[in-house]
C-alpha cells in the first residue's frame, strides 16, 4: 500500500519582549500564555506518547527570540510568579463558583489543575527552562529542531541588504547551536517570505531545506512536475518544501477549520473580561487593564452573545472525529491525485504557528495527539520530517520557487502598506550605517566593541516582522510603534557617538541590560567583507 507521507512543522515564535524594569508588563503575557497553554502541555503530550512507545517525527521551528526569552532567568522567575498568581485565581474561582456559578466549578478545577501541572513541570522537570524538554525529544529522535531568522525579519524586504540577511541567518544558526548544541538542518522562512536567491544565504550556513507558501510553485517561472506534493531543489542545492494550503486550512481556516466547531472552547470569553473589576483586579494589569486570565467557561456555540457552557467531554468527542476526518481527507486526496502525480507518492508539508495548538485552539494539542496515535497505528500513513525525506529521496527537480509569502495577498503587502511603510526608511538607513560603522571601526575591543555589538542588536531587533505585522493589523499598535522607534533611536545614538569617537557608557550599560539578546553578537558581521574569521 502506498504511504501517505506527512510532515507537520510547528513554528514557535514570539518577538523579544522583556521589560524587567516593570513589576509586570502586559506584552510579556504573550510569552507566559504560550508557555502555559502551548509549550508545556505540548511537551507533556509528546513525552506521554514517547513513553507509550509511539513512533512519530515532528519538526519544531524555535525562533531565536523565543529561545532567548525561554532561557532568560529573569523571565523564568516572572513566569513562576505568573503561574502562582493563576493558581491563586484558581483557588478563588473554585470558591466563587461553588457559591454562585456551580456549573462552572469543574472547569475552574480543570484550569487550576493545569496550572499546578505547569508549575510542577516547569520547576521540577525542566528546571525553569523548557528548552530542555525540546532538546530531550530531539535527542530521542521524536522531533527535529530547526531555526528561523534571528529576530524573525521578513526577508524579502531586505533583499537589497545582503549583510543584514546574512546577519539574520548566521546569528540565528549561532543561537540555535548555543541552545540546542547542534546545527539546524532546516530554516523556517519568517512568514514564508521568499525571494529567488534567498537560499544562497542558507546554503552558506549549511542549511538543507526551508519551507515556502503553497502558491510559490504555481507562480514559479518554470513548471513544477509535482506541484506542491514534493519538495524542489533550488539551483544552489537547498531544498524548498511547499506548504499544502488545502490540508492546512482544514485546521487553520477561521471559517471552515476544525477549531471553529461550536463545541470547542471559546477563546474570547474569559473571566478577565466578564467578572466585575473589584473581583478580578489583582489578576489583571494596572491600572485596571483587563486581560485574558486563561479561565474560560464557554463554548464557541456560534455567532451569538449567548454562549453555551463549555463541556470538555463533548469537545473530546469532536477531537476524535476531527482527527479521523483529517486522516480521511489525506487518504481521499491521495486517491484523487493518483493520476496527476507522475513522479511517485505525494509528500504533504503542513506548517502552523505552534501557538495555534493549545493557546488559540484549546483542544488543538489533543487533536494533534489523536492524529499522531492514528498515524502511528496506520499502515498507509507516515509522519515524517523534511530532513528524513531528503535522506530517503535526494533526487529532486531543480527549480526555483516564485516570490511569495503566506500573508494576505501572498506577497509582501502585509509588511509594506500604508500603516507600516514608513519604517523601512529608518531600518534601511540603520543597516547602511551599521555597515559603515563595521567598515570604519573593525575589530574594536572593550567599550567600543560592546557599543557596536549593542548597535547590531538594536538593528536586528528593529527588523522583526512582528512590528509591521502588528501595525498592519492595528492591534498593539502603540507598543509596536514604540519598540521600533526605540531600537532605531538607540542605534542612531551609537552611530552619532561613534562619529564623534565617543561612547555613551550610561546608555550602553542600560541598553545591554534591557536588550540582552544574542550574548555572542559580533558587530563585524555587518562588514560586507567579513567572513567570520574563515579563510
Amino acid at each position: 500500500m502506498a504511504k501517505n507521507r506527512l510532515s507537520l512543522i510547528l513554528h514557535a515564535h514570539l518577538p523579544f519582549v522583556r521589560h524587567i524594569e516593570y513589576p509586570r508588563f502586559l506584552e510579556e503575557d504573550w510569552l507566559y500564555e504560550s508557555l502555559s497553554e502551548t509549550y508545556l502541555p505540548m511537551l507533556r503530550m509528546l513525552r506521554r506518547l514517547r513513553s507509550e512507545g509511539y513512533c512519530f517525527r515532528l519538526t519544531f521551528s524555535m525562533s531565536p527570540t523565543l529561545c532567548a526569552m525561554l532561557a532568560d532567568p529573569a523571565l523564568q522567575e516572572r513566569f513562576i510568579k505568573y503561574l502562582e498568581l493563576h493558581k491563586d485565581l484558581g483557588e478563588k474561582e473554585m470558591e466563587r463558583c461553588s457559591k454562585e456559578q456551580l456549573e462552572c466549578m469543574p472547569l475552574a478545577k480543570m484550569y487550576y489543575d493545569l496550572t499546578l501541572k505547569n508549575l510542577s513541570d516547569f520547576c521540577d522537570l525542566y528546571h525553569n527552562n523548557v528548552l530542555e524538554g525540546f532538546r530531550d525529544l530531539e535527542d530521542s529522535g521524536h522531533i527535529d529542531l530547526i531555526t528561523t531568522a534571528a529576530t524573525h525579519a521578513y526577508l524579502p524586504l531586505y533583499c537589497d541588504y545582503p549583510t543584514a540577511i546574512k546577519a539574520q541567518v548566521e546569528v540565528a544558526v549561532q543561537s540555535h547551536i548555543r541552545h540546542f548544541k547542534k546545527s539546524p538542518k532546516g530554516f523556517w522562512l519568517p512568514e514564508c517570505g521568499y525571494f529567488p536567491g534567498l537560499e544562497e544565504y542558507l546554503r552558506k550556513q549549511e542549511i538543507d531545506w526551508f519551507q515556502v507558501s503553497a502558491h510559490s510553485m504555481l507562480v514559479a517561472s518554470e513548471p513544477v512536475r509535482m506541484g506542491d506534493y514534493a519538495p524542489v531543489r533550488c539551483p544552489d542545492g537547498v531544498a524548498a518544501f511547499p506548504r499544502d494550503y488545502h490540508l492546512t486550512s482544514l485546521v487553520w481556516s477561521n471559517t471552515e477549520g476544525y477549531p471553529c466547531d461550536g463545541n470547542y472552547r471559546e477563546f474570547y470569553r474569559d473571566i478577565g473580561y466578564d467578572l466585575p473589576m473589584e473581583y478580578i483586579r489583582p489578576y489583571i494589569h494596572e491600572p485596571e487593564v483587563r486581560v485574558f486570565t486563561g479561565y474560560k467557561y464557554w463554548a464557541i456555540t456560534g455567532p451569538t452573545n449567548e454562549k453555551r457552557l463549555y463541556r470538555p467531554e463533548l469537545a473530546a468527542g469532536k477531537v476524535q472525529e476531527h482527527a479521523d476526518n483529517f486522516l480521511y481527507r489525506i487518504r481521499m486526496k491521495n486517491s484523487a491525485l493518483d493520476r496527476s502525480l507522475r513522479d511517485g507518492a505525494p509528500f504533504y508539508t503542513l506548517g502552523f504557528d505552534a501557538e495555534l495548538f493549545g493557546h488559540w485552539w484549546f483542544e488543538g494539542i489533543d487533536w494533534l495527539e489523536a492524529v499522531i496515535r492514528r498515524a502511528s497505528d496506520a499502515d498507509d500513513l507516515f509522519l515524517t520530517t523534511p530532513s528524513d525525506y531528503l535522506a530517503t529521496f535526494p533526487e529532486l527537480q531543480t527549480v526555483q520557487p516564485g516570490y511569495s509569502s503566506w500573508g494576505q495577498g501572498g506577497y509582501s503587502s502585509v509588511w509594506l502598506d500604508g500603516s507600516n511603510a514608513w519604517i523601512y526608511r529608518h531600518i534601511h538607513k540603520a543597516i547602511e550605517r551599521m555597515e559603515e560603522l563595521a567598515v570604519r571601526f573593525p575589530e574594536q575591543q572593550s567599550l567600543k566593541q560592546r557599543f557596536l555589538n549593542q548597535a547590531s542588536r538594536e538593528v536586528l531587533l528593529s527588523m522583526a516582522s512582528d512590528w509591521p505585522f502588528i501595525l498592519h493589523n492595528k492591534t498593539s499598535v502603540g507598543y509596536a510603534d514604540k519598540r521600533l522607534r526605540d531600537h532605531l533611536r538607540n542605534f542612531n545614538l551609537v552611530y552619532e557617538n561613534m562619529c564623534k569617537n565617543a561612547v555613551n557608557t550610561e546608555w550602553l550599560v542600560k541598553a545591554e541590560k534591557r536588550d540582552n539578546i544574542f550574548p555572542d553578537m559580533d558587530y563585524n558581521i555587518f562588514n560586507p567583507s567579513y567572513n567570520g574569521g574563515q579563510e
Binding site: 514559479a220 517561472s221 499544502d244 481527507r329 501572498g410 546608555w507
Partner: protein, 241 residues
C-alpha cells in the same frame, strides 16, 4: 497568522473596540449593528491602505485588540541620550521596494544642500519620478509620475510582470531641462510560467488538479493571491464560454 472570529467577541468587548475606534454612537448600537459598523470601518480603512485591491475586511485584524495598550505612550522608560527619529535623512537618495508583482513603494529624500542648490538655480517647475521598465536588453521604456516638492514617498503601479524596474527622482526646471537627482536600485517583478501557458492547464485536467488541489480549501476558497486568482478566473471564464 492568528485564528480569530469577531462574532466570538462579547457585546461589551465590541463596544470597547467601537469606543476606541472613535465611533460616536457605540452605546446605542445593537450587537449586530456594532459588528456591521466595525466591519464597515475596517473595510474602509483597508480600502484606503490598499486602493488597488477589491478588499473585504479580514477578521484577523481584530486579534489581540483586547490587550491593546492604546492611548498610553509612556509604556517604556527612555534610555539616556536618545533623540527622536528624523523625518528624513540628510541625503539625496531614492529607494524602491517590491510589494507584489503589481505595486512597488518608493521613498526618497533630498539633502538640504541639494534643496538650496535647486532654489539658488531658480527653483523647479516640476519634480517627477521617472520609472524605467526593462523587458530585455533591447526593450525598455519609461513613464513619469509628477510629485510634489514636499512628497517623500509614493506607491507605483507596475504595468507588467517579468520586468526590471528602477526609479529616478528628477527635477524639471522652468525651461524644461531635466536633471536626475538620484536613482534607485533595480527590482525585478516575478514572471509566472502558467500565466503564459493557460491552454496547457486547460487542456490537461490532471495538470490542473495537480496545481489547484493544494490551493483550495474544502469549501472552495482559493488561496489569497492575485496571480493564482487571475489564472483561476481566466480558466473559469473560458470554461463558461
Amino acid at each position: 497568522m492568528i485564528l480569530i472570529k469577531i462574532d466570538a467577541l462579547t457585546t461589551t468587548e465590541l463596544q470597547y473596540i467601537a469606543q476606541q475606534e472613535g465611533m460616536e454612537n457605540w452605546e446605542s448600537l445593537e450587537r449586530d449593528e456594532l459588528i456591521e459598523a466595525l466591519e464597515d470601518l475596517y473595510d474602509e480603512q483597508e480600502f484606503e491602505d490598499r486602493p488597488d485591491r477589491d478588499s473585504k475586511v479580514n477578521r484577523n485584524r481584530f486579534c489581540n485588540s483586547l490587550t491593546d495598550f492604546r492611548g498610553k505612550d509612556d509604556i517604556q522608560l527612555e534610555l539616556p541620550g536618545v533623540e527622536e527619529l528624523p523625518a528624513v535623512y540628510a541625503e539625496t537618495s531614492i529607494h524602491l521596494l517590491l510589494r507584489d508583482p503589481y505595486w512597488a513603494y518608493a521613498f526618497w529624500s533630498i539633502s538640504p544642500i541639494d534643496r538650496s542648490r535647486i532654489e539658488e538655480e531658480g527653483g523647479i517647475k516640476d519634480l517627477l519620478l521617472r520609472v524605467s521598465m526593462r523587458r530585455s536588453a533591447a526593450d525598455d521604456e519609461f513613464f513619469d509620475i509628477s510629485v510634489g516638492f514636499d512628497d517623500t514617498d509614493w506607491n507605483i503601479n507596475l504595468p507588467e510582470m517579468g520586468c526590471e524596474y528602477s526609479v529616478s527622482l528628477c527635477k524639471m526646471d522652468h525651461e524644461g531641462g531635466l536633471e536626475e537627482l538620484c536613482e534607485s536600485k533595480t527590482v525585478r517583478t516575478p514572471k509566472c510560467y502558467w500565466t503564459d501557458h493557460l491552454d496547457q492547464l486547460r487542456e490537461e485536467p490532471a495538470l490542473f488538479k495537480l496545481y489547484f488541489s493544494s490551493l483550495v480549501t474544502k469549501g472552495g476558497i482559493i488561496v489569497d493571491n492575485p496571480t493564482v486568482q487571475e489564472i483561476a478566473a481566466s480558466l473559469s471564464s473560458v470554461a463558461r464560454s
